[in-house]
């Protein structure tokens, strides 16, 4: 019995962890006009944000095809997989999970479990890692799935954007857009709740936005795992990591640069913080 894990490129997982756990990452696509680039394969974050700054027409994104999932699952089967846990970006943000389910159809001799993570970025990535750790210690498909799902119930993801422009165009904001306003420039604060991207607040400056996010994170203590992602602001990432070390001294902080597909919707300057709380999800308390 061999269990393998499949996820997609929106998990923002660093290459070394992907390699260590033998995780298969199916890429979404970025389209600059007719030019289709596989996320993280044909274009990495460094190249993408450089190009984004030059481009006059903004790129769009596309979910992986069922055929691509089919090919990935077949490859794992050939490599000896008998069970596959496929964990993906929230089905309310992308059709990726749908493609994965279609791709699995007809792949023989493999037991599948598909998980709608209801989230994205390293919040998804950390759920994948929870499952990978279980498998690494000899656990089976169901135990790995349970570990991922348990972690997801305790995971919170917050973002600050530098501008609303990219998100508005992408149309991924589900709720709260009315609080964002249009006259004054504001930095929107966003969160993933119940699989949806929602606006949770707004501030005028980036510095305040970061403080506000840290405050919200702090209110969720005790915290067992942290992660932070950035696009083009390594100094801000470092600041956030230092602050997270103070907020959750016992948790190491996983960091990554956001993948191009998410960069299309978030724009340069996005900063995200993911935390996993201890035990059952706490009743959210507003910051004091």
């Amino acid at each position: 019995m061999t269990v393998r894990i499949v996820t997609d490129s929106t998990a923002d997982l660093p290459a070394d962890l992907v390699e260590r756990y033998g995780i298969a990452v199916v890429p979404l696509s970025i389209l600059f006009g007719d030019e289709e680039l596989r996320d993280g394969i044909d274009i990495n974050s460094e190249q993408f944000f450089k190009r984004l700054a030059r481009e006059t027409t903004l790129p769009t994104t596309s979910q992986p095809s069922p055929a691509l999932f089919r090919a990935t699952y077949e490859r794992l089967r050939v490599e000896g997989a008998t069970e596959i846990l496929s964990i993906h970006v929230s089905s309310k943000l992308s059709g990726t999970l749908q493609s994965a389910l279609q791709g699995a159809d007809g792949v023989g001799d493999v037991r599948f479990r598909h998980v709608d993570s209801g989230t994205v970025s390293l919040a998804l990535g950390m759920a994948v890692l929870a499952a990978a750790a279980v498998i690494d210690e000899g656990g089976g498909l169901e135990a790995a799935r349970a570990a991922a799902e348990d972690r997801l119930t305790r995971t919170h993801l917050f973002f600050v954007l530098d501008t609303l422009e990219y998100l508005r165009r992408g149309g991924r904001l589900s709720r709260g857009s009315e609080i964002l306003g249009t006259l004054l420039k504001v930095k929107p604060l966003l969160a993933i709740e119940n699989g949806e991207l929602i606006a949770i607040g707004r501030v005028r400056t980036r510095q305040k936005a970061i403080e506000e996010l840290l405050q919200r994170v702090s209110a969720l203590r005790p915290i067992t795992h942290c992660a932070a992602v950035h696009a083009t602001t390594p100094d801000d990432l470092k600041y956030v990591v230092d602050r997270l070390d103070g907020i959750a001294p016992d948790a190491s902080v996983l960091t990554a640069r956001i993948t191009p597909v998410l960069g299309v919707h978030a724009g340069p300057g996005v900063l995200g913080i993911t935390v996993v709380t201890a035990g059952a999800p706490p009743v959210p308390t507003p910051p004091a």
Binding site: E178, I179, G181, T182, L183, L184, K185, V186, I200, G201, R202, V203, R204, T205, R206, Q207, K208, P286, P287, A288
Partner: protein, 530 residues
């Protein structure tokens, strides 16, 4: 007693400009005399026409003042009237002992109304006047004698205010609020004694120019008293609002209700009144003529909309603001209502209360946006019994910073707290021209100078507005500043937007700058530094 209050109103009207002229701050919108007068008029209007007991009449007066109070001086005055009324209780008429008790009660209530009483203000004048009145009553228990002593002591106390308050000494003036108290009680004294009024402090032809300013707006200012039984004030308010009534005040009890409402047509208001009781003291004014005096200085504010209660946010937001651009910004940030605060911009407690009514399902957050509206806002919040929370914004740009942090959902106290933090992290710079010569906060200014206030404190004068703006920013910008937002006033010079943007890009290349057309009166430039 009605006569005494009416004479006091006349006397304060005549002296108003003299009182306005000695506001310490030489800014164009700080009119203590006008605010006290509007408060007193609201008090007078609330006096029942046919009250037989003095105590009852004064209670109605105090209630009228409470809701009509404008500016901090007006709020303190309304608390004095409350103290006066409470000391008299149900007394049929005021005897000498009652009078001294009432004056002392007024003083005590005023001190209790402010968190940190400051001497050299109207508090001191009331206290010293009341103490002198008590002493006088021991010598000769006659009302005229006691009142005359009060007035003399109050006037002497006014003269001493610069000794107690350095900012008055610096400015070379006596305290405006204190002078207002002395003037009002001097008027009451003449009214009670039936003696003629002397010449006003400064006889100016401008004194009548602001007559009737509380009747701003279009249509008809309609006031009447309803006498009846089991009058449902809430239902009446609802009906009057439904008829398109504005600036609505429905004050009184189940037997007697005083209605003040601005209506495009006074007919339905009177009909609504007749439906629940007998009308008396009917007074209808056409506000158009008075409005024209003010129209130039006031930007359009969206009329109160009859909001669908289902669409109301759980936590509403009400702001006091003027200027089309500023009002639009508050609306854009989600304010349920924006009111303009009347002719002086100092919304009364009653207006604030009315604006808050029905502005949110569970709670309403109130942004006074002016340090001189803060107390009226707190008075309105107390009257609303916990449903209204004041977020203490002392300037309009602080209010905008707070509004950015507003959200219509969540826990009201936590949202208010977040908004308070946003205020704390914002510096306000107000740039205008001095309206007269003064020395304030250690800065000597002449009429016409460009002046800059940072968080309400005058920090700089300059020959022109641009330089004043830069000097103000110099004080407000810190090492952690990252964003400056500039709101251009209605009378900002031509092409100010580009010029100011260029000025700031030159002086502060590291700061992000956003320029918006605020359209606010009095202040050509308002800036926030975050």
């Amino acid at each position: 007693m009605r006569d005494a209050f009416a004479v006091a109103e006349r006397w304060l009207t005549l002296n108003r400009d003299a009182i306005n002229a000695i506001n310490v701050y030489p800014v164009p919108d700080g009119d203590t005399g006008t605010n006290m007068l509007l408060t007193w008029r609201a008090a007078l209007a609330a006096m029942p026409a046919d009250a037989d007991a003095a105590g009852t009449a004064l209670r109605a007066v105090a209630h009228g003042a409470l809701l009509g109070a404008r500016g901090n001086s007006g709020v303190i005055l309304s608390q004095m009237l409350r103290g006066l009324a409470e000391a008299l209780g149900d007394a049929e008429r005021v005897d000498c002992a009652g009078l001294t008790r009432a004056l002392t009660g007024a003083s005590a209530a005023a001190y209790a109304a402010v968190p940190i009483p400051v001497e050299g203000t109207m508090l001191t004048v009331m206290r010293e006047g009341a103490a002198a009145a008590e002493a006088a009553a021991l010598v000769r228990a006659e009302i005229d004698h006691v009142m005359a002593t009060f007035v003399v002591a109050a006037q002497a106390s006014v003269e001493r205010t610069p000794d107690l308050l350095p900012r008055l000494r610096d400015a070379g003036v006596v305290d405006a609020g204190g002078l207002g108290i002395a003037v009002l009680f001097e008027g009451v004294k003449h009214g009670l004694a039936g003696t003629p009024l002397p010449a006003p402090l400064v006889a100016t032809e401008a004194a009548v120019a602001l007559e009737g300013v509380e009747h701003e707006g279009h249509g008809y200012c309609t006031e009447f008293v309803i006498l009846g039984r089991d009058i449902d004030r809430a239902a009446l308010e609802h009906a009057l609002t439904a008829f398109g009534g504005d600036s609505l005040l429905v004050v009184g009890d189940a037997e007697a209700v005083h209605v003040h409402v601005h209506m495009p047509d006074p007919g339905p208001a009177l009909s609504a009144g007749v439906a629940v009781g007998a009308l008396s003291a009917i007074k209808i004014d056409n506000m158009q003529t008075q409005h024209e005096t003010w129209a130039a200085g006031r930007a359009g504010t969206p009329a109160h909309s009859a909001l669908d209660p289902g669409a109301l946010p759980a936590i509403g937001l009400v702001a006091v603001a003027r200027g089309a651009g500023i009002v639009a910004a508050f609306r854009d940030l989600g304010a349920t209502r924006v009111i303009d605060g009347g002719p002086t911009g100092k919304a009364s407690a009653g207006e604030l209360l009315e604006a808050c009514t029905g502005a949110g399902r569970d709670h309403v957050l109130l942004l006074p946006n002016d340090k001189d509206v803060l107390m009226a806002a707190e008075q309105a919040a107390r009257a609303a019994g916990g449903r209204v929370i004041v977020v203490p914004s002392r300037t309009v740009v602080a209010g905008l910073a707070a509004a950015v942090a507003y959200s219509p959902d969540g826990e009201a106290a936590a949202v208010a707290e977040r908004m308070g933090r946003a205020i704390a992290a914002t510096r306000s710079v107000e740039v205008t021209r001095a309206v007269r010569d003064a020395v304030v906060d250690g800065v000597r200014v002449s009429a016409g100078d460009g002046i800059a206030l940072v968080d309400g404190v005058l920090v700089a004068r300059a020959d022109d507005l641009d330089r004043a703006l830069l000097l103000g920013l110099e004080r407000a910008v810190g090492t952690d500043s990252s964003l400056v937002t500039v709101y251009l006033g209605a009378d900002a010079p031509q092409n100010s937007g580009e010029r100011v943007e260029a000025l700031l890009a030159d002086a502060y290349p590291e700061l992000e700058v956003e320029v918006l057309a605020g359209g606010q009166p009095f202040y050509p430039f308002l800036l926030s530094v975050e």
